[in-house]
Amino acid sequence: MSDLLLLVPFVAVVLLYLLPKRARAVGLWVAFGILALEAAAAVLDRFATVDVGLLAPLEKLLGFHLATDGLSGLVILCTGLVGMAALLVARRTLESVNERFLFANLVLVAVVGINGMAMVRDLFSLYVFVEVTAVATVILVAAGRGDHVLEGAWKYIFLSVVASVLMLTSLGFFLLSTGGITLDAARTGLAANAPLAWIAMALFLCGLFVKGAMVPFHGWLADAYTAAPAPVSVFMAGIVTKASGIFALLRIAQSTLGGATPGREILLVVGAVTIVVGAFLALTQTNFKRMLAYSSISQMGYIVLALGGDLHLGILAAGLHFFNHAVSKSQLFANAAAVEKQLGTLDIDEMGGLGARMPVTAGTSAVASLSIAGLPPLAGFWSKLLIILALWNAKEYAFAAVAILASLVTLAYFLSLQRKVFFGKPLEKWAGAREASAGLLVPAVALALVTIALGIGFPFALRILLGGGA
């Protein structure tokens, strides 16, 4: 069944191009339907348990070596939810049918890449699907308008190439040291403390740090998120960066590092530095999307930090924060798109009092902000609590303190954002501003409800999300 998660979006892209031009409006809804099925499959865990008898000949013919577990399900669910939100935002923010059609196609290609990353068990295949996602995303970023688009796309592609070189070199070293490039072979090499295997792992991690925008490789992210069209920002911030860099780190921490000391220390230091630097950079921003971008860097640092804690609890905490951040951050970018559509600007200093005119946008934005800051009873509280517990169990008290203190900085920049944009006296110059259209509110409200529901029904939801596979 997992083969279908690669084949269906791929075949859909090919078939959509056979449609007559006048029927292209349907492309966005086809992509939406595929992503809805994908999210449903992840929740029901059907792709792992369904009777595959009918698909056996196809699987034999293709010969793909794929495997699914709780972590794969988590990424596939996030991809479905975030992809649907991005498509709904695209419907209201991209002008022409053709733009929306191309966006839907590129999202489907990126989805194949992300699904592939979620299910492979081989470092080279992981690299291949990271590249598939990167190529589709670079084009999505470059398709925007304005002078800064080229800079954003250029930085993204340039650093992607650097990451690719690091990862390919690493694969060569793995072949030399272990004779294989499967995750199992890498684990064997690392367990035997082969120096070349550790050099290979360090290079692979550096490649993933670039893809995941960890400090000091974070330079590309803010430009790419800010330059990208609104639905691309939703998609990138929600799932692309996390899947390309952070999920691959999660998979490696789970399958190969096995709590080994050098790997854990690297993850702890990089995670902590990224949290702090990202949070303080977010605090100084005056552009709505740019602040969200630096906040993303900081929150992805939390996920990496969790991987350096207690192995099992750390992976659980990282997985949950991955999901929470994917949902809340794509929702905040949808909120930013609603504000930009009404005001024509993203400059926070020019805004004020929008809460009275855009109450739904303001309310959902507050939910996502407070969740990311880690306030109970929202979903983000639970994942941050688990991260701190994972660090505490591993006796990493200093890093647990960093995680707690940085949460205060997160709260500070999100409260500042809410105050400057939505609170206070409504400004005269925005007297004409109205609440965003239903098309932009639906994804924001739906994602905010997921955040609230997951926070309140945490024990039940956690069992569904991770299915005991992590």
């Binding site: 892209v13 291949v128 190529v135 589709a136 084009i139 030399l176 294989g180």
Partner: protein, 164 residues
Amino acid sequence: MIWFTLLLVVLVLAALWASMTTTLLRATLGLALASALLSVVMFSMGATLAAAMELSVCAGLISVVLVSVASLTRPRSIQEEIASRRSRLRRIWPLPLVLIAGGVALSFVHAPVDIVLRLPAGDGDVRTVLWSMRQLDLFGQILILLAGALGVLVLFRKEAKDDD
């Protein structure tokens, strides 16, 4: 051995020229030369199919595509050319130094080059590996090409719209 070393040195020089030259056409020629030399290196190491692939795709097809793109671009004025050359040289002059320093540093690392790779089933034939063992990666390659084709559609249409 001396010829092999010489080949590698010329390969690096060609790659450096491709990176540092200020004209697209020369950069393309540098890349084609580097690819052709890499093919020779692969041939001499017995990787004939990989060498043929490198020669046909990288030295051949990609060079043709790049030259076609270069021919479509607007030539720069002399002033732009001088300004670009100065700024470009300022930015990338450390590149050769980094390469030389890296080479010297690597020469002190005793990499275990005598390790015999475990060959995959099917005599390690690249065709067997590609078609029978790495189908998933081949599928990924097809996807990258598809994404590239979509990219051409998106970006060229955008370019045409901007020109209007």
